[in-house]
Symmetry: C2
Subunit: 222 residues, 2 copies
DNA sequence: ATATACATGTCGAGG
DNA sequence: CCTCGACGTGTATAT
């Protein structure tokens, strides 16, 4: 990894064109060909390029090309504050916990906490228009479809579950079908659309769900 | 800006929980409190935190806290390869050129290239469920709504224009209403849904559109 | 390889 | 401040 600290001007040409007037930046050139340009603010790079690339240094100009897409990142150096190379070893991969899949696992463990009497029949049930998160039956035995959102549900989530319902309703054995969006929060448009489409909104308290699942079961999360 | 190159282990707790086993990384601590952790691969940081933060160094442990959201990034140092501070000055902002807006401009210049005889009545026409990209009339005078996608259109785009159509159809003077998605490419699910919803898909050749607009007009792109 | 949906998405415009 | 849709989205997963 090369860590270059320099005053420079930057241009990018790809799907769009960007220009960054002269300023001091930290530029990382990685072994896989990727490049990240950091300015003095913000956690994410202001400019970047994914690998693999060809890096071509020509005096004060560094050109980073990506042949596949025809992208070009041009760095015009004005002055160099530091320029170091480091041999870095890192075989670790980022482990994540708390994504939508894990939320699904919690619901599968404790569907009662979504609605009393709810029973999960099938997870990720495929349809022509995409997979249904949960195909369930409620306490009365009515087919109930759940669309789960980890963050705030928007109108698109409501439309998604409506599409699923249309698919499932083609099977007369299933009707009537309840369509439900489960999320910690709902955008107003999502609630409004749900009302017109006959879709139910269930607010999910994720903390309560986690607490409600027995510790012994939670061991299997990861 | 502090540039720390070190072998370390990293934990993040916030909207989700992540862990990164020991390895060599480059960590940037910026003046605005943001932190970026880069591993040996990829243009984007593997872990990060937006500012403002409080950074607390306690021997081999660095804790970065964000009070607002309760996020915590913990860096457990094993060995330090380099640790430098740089006074950086950068007042420049990233300038961009070439987003969806420009595609809209091209269509507004040459609606004939979307469909012969098409006339744009209004751009970004507001409705209760969001703005319609283009409110048009076709060669026969029929109201025609365009939803434009710069990249591949998915099912959500079809549903978007269906919602707009429902709104417009409330005005009897407008019916019948054509609903059209315009994109360079369509996902199969989008085409399938469009068929069931009576929505038309028009494939847009952006290169041809650019070529079809006179050079004198194209000067006004930027 | 293609298609699909998730993401610590992140960002910016508009009400 | 909240809501919403675009993004150089990127990335993982299933087909």
């Amino acid at each position: 990894m090369r860590v270059l600290v320099a005053r420079c001007e930057i241009a990018y040409e790809g799907r769009l064109v960007t220009r960054l007037a002269p300023g001091d930046r930290v530029i990382l050139f990685k072994g896989d060909g990727s490049v990240a340009v950091h300015n003095t603010k913000g956690a994410k790079p202001v400019n970047y390029m994914a690998g693999p690339t060809v890096v071509e240094e020509d005096g004060a100009v560094i050109r980073v090309r990506r042949a596949q897409s025809g992208e070009l990142l041009t760095i015009l150096l004005e002055s160099i504050h530091a320029d170091a190379r480091h041999e870095l070893e890192d075989g670790a991969a980022l482990e994540r916990d708390g994504r939508e899949l894990q939320l699904h696992a919690l619901i599968a463990q404790a569907p009662d906490l979504v609605e009393p009497g709810l029973v999960v029949v099938q997870r990720e049930r495929p349809t022509d228009v995409g997979p249904i998160d949960f195909f369930c039956r409620d306490a009365a035995g009515t087919v109930t479809l759940l669309e789960v959102k980890r963050v705030k549900a928007v109108a698109a989530a409501v439309e998604q579950v409506v599409r699923y319902r249309e698919q499932v309703e083609r099977d007369p054995a299933c009707v009537p079908v309840r369509a439900v969006v489960v999320a910690p929060e709902f955008a107003p448009q999502a609630r409004a659309l749900a009302a017109t489409r006959g879709v139910e909104c269930i607010v999910l308290d994720v903390a309560a769900l986690r607490a409600g699942v027995a510790p012994a079961l939670r061991l299997f999360d990861g």
